[in-house]
């Protein structure tokens, strides 16, 4: 039994490199300090502030897209902003994730009738997690990140299962 724990498939000794990276990715989701509108105050400033303390989840802000894993689209994206959002996404190294925070980033929110506003940021970048709310509370953002962590884990397990199936 004890030997199993040591040498089994998910043991510390024989952990696969994907699994190792997966743990590392999950536990250090660095987001890009890229606030667009109101949501930035709640999702970036308050969430990393003293009460909600994003750091304890390994989530920390980076000023450059080159060092970031996650882009939190926190606010309304309009057609003037759209090329920049896409460009910042392209500048981030793989693997990368996008969190659409708030009603505006999800659907256009209260401003969706205005022609200059884009109806959801998923028109230009692939979104992994949608966080509803106007603006969402910092707790919601943290829950969104937990969902994202689960998603990363599930993706790796899927990949591993596929590899086992191939007989590798």
């Amino acid at each position: 039994m004890a030997l199993d724990k040591l040498t089994g498939e998910h043991s510390a000794l024989f952990i696969r490199s994907e699994q190792l990276f997966d743990v590392a990715r999950r536990k250090s989701l660095w987001y890009m300090a890229f606030g667009i509108a109101c949501c930035a105050i709640e999702g970036l400033m308050h969430a990393s502030g003293p009460r909600f303390d994003f750091d304890r989840m390994g989530v920390f802000f980076r000023a450059s897209p080159r060092q970031a894993d996650v882009m939190i689209v926190a606010g309304t994206v309009n057609w003037k902003m759209a090329p920049t959002v896409r460009r910042l996404y392209d500048e981030m190294p793989e693997p990368k994730w996008v969190v659409a925070m708030g009603a505006c980033a999800c659907t256009g929110g209260p401003f969706r009738e205005y022609p200059n506003v884009m109806m959801g940021v998923d028109k230009i970048v692939p979104v992994d997690v949608y966080i509803p709310g106007c603006p969402p509370r910092p707790e919601s953002v943290q829950y969104g990140f937990i969902v994202l962590m689960d998603k990363i884990k599930a993706k790796t397990e899927e990949r591993l299962a596929a590899a086992r199936h191939d007989g590798r």
């Binding site: 667009i36 502030g49 309009n78 902003m81």
Partner: protein, 568 residues
């Protein structure tokens, strides 16, 4: 009013002056005479030398351009209106009032007018693909079609092209109408209120200047502000602020919302101090509809307004530390902001988007738990604010970086339309809460801090002192909260009579005004939001030449810009 008429007669301008109920004196001139009238009004003995706001109203036949003038000396206001036909040429008045620089571009763009005589007549808020005249039609007609057209025009390389076209236009000879000429402030003597560029000591002959693009994603621009800087070494030769990355049509959408629902949009305009924008709109509506507000509601408005002011100043103070390299300050201030948001949530039900101040009063009465929370907060804050003052303002490095940097003298501050702490930091003693009291401010005791130096440090001092004064007012509101109803009896669907009004409040960023035109229906006909941060931004932009990059960051930080409000 008669004085204005006399001045215009002497200047041989055909004008009709009348008093509009709930608005004040309105002077109507022809489009051709507008410049002449403005010069006469500015230079005459009634000295209407402060341009409060500049915007357009679509009347159905033409666009009324409104010049809102104020005289601080005589405490008078005058609205000058000039009707411009659709598609006509809008003659710039930036050399008379430098404050008109950005509002002019915005008005020309949103009403589809051509701007003439402007140093930088480019589009301000939207990209080239997006249609102009967004504000012109009375409904959001054919939104989908317009959206598709805009989508087709979005091009990922747009950013590169803008920068390269700027580089080209910089190389162009100044004075050509089409290209970008240096900002008026770069030419000494050109503008009566212009700034004089500091002579460059590091410029080597024929050395190439570098174009640096700061933003829209930049940690120090507080949102989606973009600064295009032309650098000679580390010194800024010329700079341009590009805005519009958060333009989401709040003024336009307000025309399709009922009076009780407009506050939802206004909360999101100045998202750090929602109560103030709501209050300005509620006051403007009440002026037209003639609603009497209960005393308790006025006190609650003051109470929430001051709580929100502290929350807003804190959101500026912490990041101001971040900008100048002090990380710790941010964490200390956000400790207080959390306590404040708890209180605001307790009373209004939301942390940021309150929708609390309604025409006629406020949404609900103060809760029993909130009062105790406020008292605890005030006791803590009295200690914390002194800590904060020591920590950042008392820091020698911070002082060295801010004292003598970004100086506006009195004349420049007034010329660029600065209001609020920026104006008081330049030695102009003007606070709407004291000089044009609204809500219950006439019954509260407070001091208006004024600093003379006009630099970044002076603005910081003023805001810090404002926080202490706000705490003082909150205590008075809590202790002297009168009994009674929290709202007047107002119809569920409010239909104010035909009319026009202007109401201004002292928001944390300055004079936040709402100019409202009602047409008797349940929807506003036109809602103009005077954004104090836009005027602060253009003043900051004008000050860029001659500064170092690091100073530009501190300067822009000290203007307390909220881009949601700048772009609307």
């Amino acid at each position: 009013m008669t004085a204005a008429k006399g001045v215009l007669q002497r200047a041989a301008v055909a004008a009709s002056v009348e008093t509009v109920e709930s608005l004040g004196a309105v002077c109507r001139v022809s489009a051709a005479d507008a410049r002449k009238a403005l010069v006469a009004l500015r230079d005459s003995d009634i000295s209407l030398g402060f341009l409060v706001d500049y915007f357009g109203i679509d009347t159905g036949e033409a666009v009324d351009i409104v010049y809102h003038l104020r005289s601080f000396a005589r405490d008078e206001e005058l609205f000058v209106k000039a009707a411009h036909d659709y598609g006509s040429v809008l003659t710039s008045v930036w050399d008379i009032f430098p404050a008109a620089l950005m509002p002019e571009r915005e008005t020309a763009e949103l009403f589809g007018l051509t701007l003439a005589g402007h140093p930088n007549p480019k589009r301000l808020l939207t990209t080239d693909g997006c249609p102009a005249y967004l504000l012109k039609s009375l409904e959001v007609r054919g939104a989908d079609e317009v959206r598709n057209r805009a989508a087709q025009h979005v091009d990922p390389t747009a950013l590169d092209r803008t920068v390269s076209s700027l580089a080209e236009s910089v190389a162009q000879e100044p004075g050509s109408a089409s290209g970008k000429t240096p900002l008026p402030v770069a030419e000494p003597g050109a503008a009566p209120l212009g700034l004089v560029r500091i002579p460059s000591g590091v410029d080597v002959e024929n050395s190439e200047h570098l174009i640096l693009n700061m933003g829209p994603q930049h940690p120090s621009t507080h949102g989606v502000l973009r600064l295009i800087l032309e650098l000679d070494g580390e010194e800024i030769v010329s700079g341009e602020a590009v805005i519009g990355y958060l333009h989401r049509g709040i003024e336009k959408l307000a025309e399709s919302r009922r009076y009780s629902a407009v506050a939802t949009l206004l909360d999101r305009a100045d998202y750090v101090s929602g109560i103030h924008s709501e209050l300005a709109f509620a006051l403007a509506t009440e002026k037209i509809a003639g609603i009497e507000v209960p005393r308790r509601a006025s006190y609650l408005r003051c109470l929430l307004g001051e709580l929100n002011r502290i929350a807003s100043h804190i959101t500026w103070y912490g990041p101001m530390g971040l900008d100048s390299g002090a990380m710790g300050q941010f964490l200390y201030t956000f400790r207080d902001r959390e306590a404040l948001l708890d209180i605001l949530e307790d009373i209004t039900g939301q942390r940021m988007m309150f929708n609390y101040v309604r025409p006629g009063g406020v949404l609900n009465d103060i809760t029993t738990t909130a009062e105790a929370k406020i008292r605890t907060f005030l006791d803590d804050f009295a200690i914390h604010v002194e800590e904060n003052a020591e920590l950042l303002m008392g820091n020698e490095i911070f002082q060295a970086r801010t004292q003598g940097v970004g100086v506006f003298d009195r004349k420049q501050a007034l010329g660029f339309g600065l209001t609020g702490a920026c104006l008081r930091g330049s030695g102009v003693d003007w606070d709407i809460r004291r000089d044009r009291p609204y809500a219950a401010y006439s019954e509260l005791e407070f001091d208006v801090p004024v600093a003379e130096q006009g630099d970044v440090y002076a603005r910081c001092q003023v805001r810090l002192e404002e926080m202490r004064q706000s705490a003082r007012m909150i205590r008075q509101c809590i202790d002297g909260l009168p009994e009674g109803e929290h709202t007047a009896k107002v119809a569920k669907v409010l239909r104010p009579p035909v009319g026009e009004s202007y109401a201004a409040v002292e928001s944390p960023r300055g004079e936040l005004g709402v100019h409202l035109v009602a047409d008797g229906t349940d929807l506003p006909y036109r809602m103009r939001y005077r954004p104090p941060a836009l005027y602060a931004l253009q003043a900051g932009e004008a000050l860029l030449p001659g500064l170092l990059i690091a100073d530009a960051v501190v300067l822009m930080g000290s203007m307390d810009l909220i881009l949601g409000e700048v772009d609307r």
